[in-house]
């Protein structure tokens, strides 16, 4: 029953992420509902137990994206695995403020991994040579920093709203 609820919440999240969430865009940035939800799942249940949900959800997200296929799923899996590992080695309990720290770290890691993999995909010619990130100009970097800060705030807000609900549904027995 619990698995059913988890799968249902992910399908709803993917549908919302591709239809409603783009309307919440403020200065090019919108909250990453699926990243926050996958992160909460991994924090509350461990990556080893829910890896298949993470893989399916991220692959479905990739289907809806115009980015090179696999870019989002690889970035999501690497990010949540690293953050889950960090959480297990640093913190012993699931607390609200710890989760908020992890959301900040996850947002930064996800964007970094996405940028690195994008360059890698271009290098091995899986995707067109289109950089979705900055060149070396100062303006662009300032813009990127501002976007990252906004993405962190948005994801924190999303995580704060979802935390207690997710704890009820996802928390392991």
């Amino acid at each position: 029953m619990k698995t059913f609820f988890i799968v249902l919440s992910f399908i709803s999240a993917i549908i919302l992420q591709t239809s409603s969430i783009p309307f919440l865009t403020v200065s090019k940035i919108s909250p990453d509902l699926v990243l926050v939800l996958i992160l909460l799942l991994v924090i509350l249940k461990r990556f080893e137990k829910v890896w298949w949900i993470v893989v399916i959800a991220s692959l479905l997200l990739d289907l809806f994206s115009s980015l090179p296929f696999g870019l989002i799923s690889l970035s999501l899996v690497i990010t949540v695995y690293l953050i889950g590992l960090f959480n297990r080695n640093m913190f012993s309990a699931v607390r609200f403020w710890i989760t908020m720290i992890l959301v900040v770290l996850a947002t930064l890691t996800y964007n970094l991994v996405l940028a690195i993999l994008n360059q890698l995909f271009i290098l091995i010619k899986i995707s067109q040579p289109v950089s979705y990130f900055c060149n070396l100009s100062l303006d662009c970097w300032l813009d990127l920093m501002l976007s990252l800060a906004l993405a962190i705030i948005y994801n924190l807000l999303m995580a704060a709203i979802l935390f207690y609900g997710a704890k009820k549904i996802f928390h392991q027995e």
Binding site: T18, S20, T25, S30, G70, V77, I78, D143
Partner: protein
């Protein structure tokens, strides 16, 4: 000799166990599965499952998308209620100007048709359009694309041009499925369109980027470009028909050392309120 062989065998078995352990680790397994799917997609074998998945989720997504659009419209209305009077006055003025322009253009159209018939030139071809609803947006926020509910079955083909009412350029079809298609909008970083400034006829290349504005690049140096000048597709390269409205010049970026100048262009389409588009067949 047997001892050495035994040691070698033991080493191989241990390495196999270690490799099996590594491969069965959920993280490694996840990466391998995703890479497997990347390979399948690269070969084009994911097209059918993708098409079926879009077909199943399309009705739900369409309903959620329309609902979100209504909520967004309502929220925008609440926040802009103070500016409505001012906006209304401005729109009234613009309407009068456009009406005068329309009357003048109709006169010219009639004259054009008459001259064409006199010299025996055929009238320009009427484009066949397919009306489609938007059913979803790119979830990443990096790539700018959306899905529409018409695909191969409706005669849509790859690279078809997508416009909205008023001959305003929206984008281009980049992927076609059975009953849906993916459209890359003009602001996507991968988008490139040959364009010209309508008043002066200066040609350049419209590029998307990370923001919501466009960049009109490769404009000849030394030419005067003014704010609010209209940018349309030039039809060069034959990918986009000429004369489709792209946007208005907002800012000109020029330096003495550059061989060309650039202009920032505000797209004419409001992508946040777009629900339907036309695909040119």
């Amino acid at each position: 000799m047997t001892g050495r062989a035994f040691c070698f065998l033991k080493k191989i078995v241990l390495e196999c166990i270690l490799m099996r352990k590594t491969l069965s680790h959920p993280f490694v397994l996840s990466l391998l599965i995703i890479l497997g799917f990347v390979f399948l997609n690269f070969q084009g074998w994911l097209k059918i499952p993708q098409s079926i998945f879009f077909q199943i989720t399309a009705p739900g997504k369409e309903a959620v998308y329309e609902f979100s659009l209504k909520v967004n419209g309502f929220v925008n209305f609440i926040f802009s209620v103070n500016q409505l009077n001012q906006e209304n006055d401005q729109l009234e003025r613009e309407k009068e100007e456009l009406l005068a322009e329309l009357t003048y253009l109709k006169e010219i159209e009639a004259e054009n048709e008459f001259i064409r018939s006199q010299i025996g030139l055929p009238l320009p071809d009427q484009k066949e359009l397919v009306l489609a609803n938007i059913i979803g947006q790119d979830p990443s926020g990096l790539g700018k694309s959306f899905l529409i509910n018409k695909g191969e079955r409706s005669g849509i083909s790859q690279k078809a041009v997508v416009i909205t009412a008023g001959n305003i350029l929206v984008g281009q079809v980049i992927e076609v499925f059975d009953s849906s298609s993916r459209i890359r909008i003009i602001t996507d970083p991968a988008s490139r369109i040959n364009a010209k400034i309508q008043q002066s006829g200066l040609t350049g290349l419209i590029k998307g980027g990370s923001g919501s504005n466009l960049t009109l690049d490769l404009l000849p140096q030394g030419e005067l470009i003014q704010r609010e000048e209209i940018v349309v597709s030039s039809g060069l390269a034959g990918l986009f028909p000429p004369g489709l409205l792209i946007g208005q010049v907002q800012r000109v970026i020029s330096s003495d050392v550059g061989i060309s100048q650039m202009a920032k262009v505000k797209p004419a389409v409001d992508f946040n309120s777009l629900t339907m588009v036309f695909v040119i067949k």
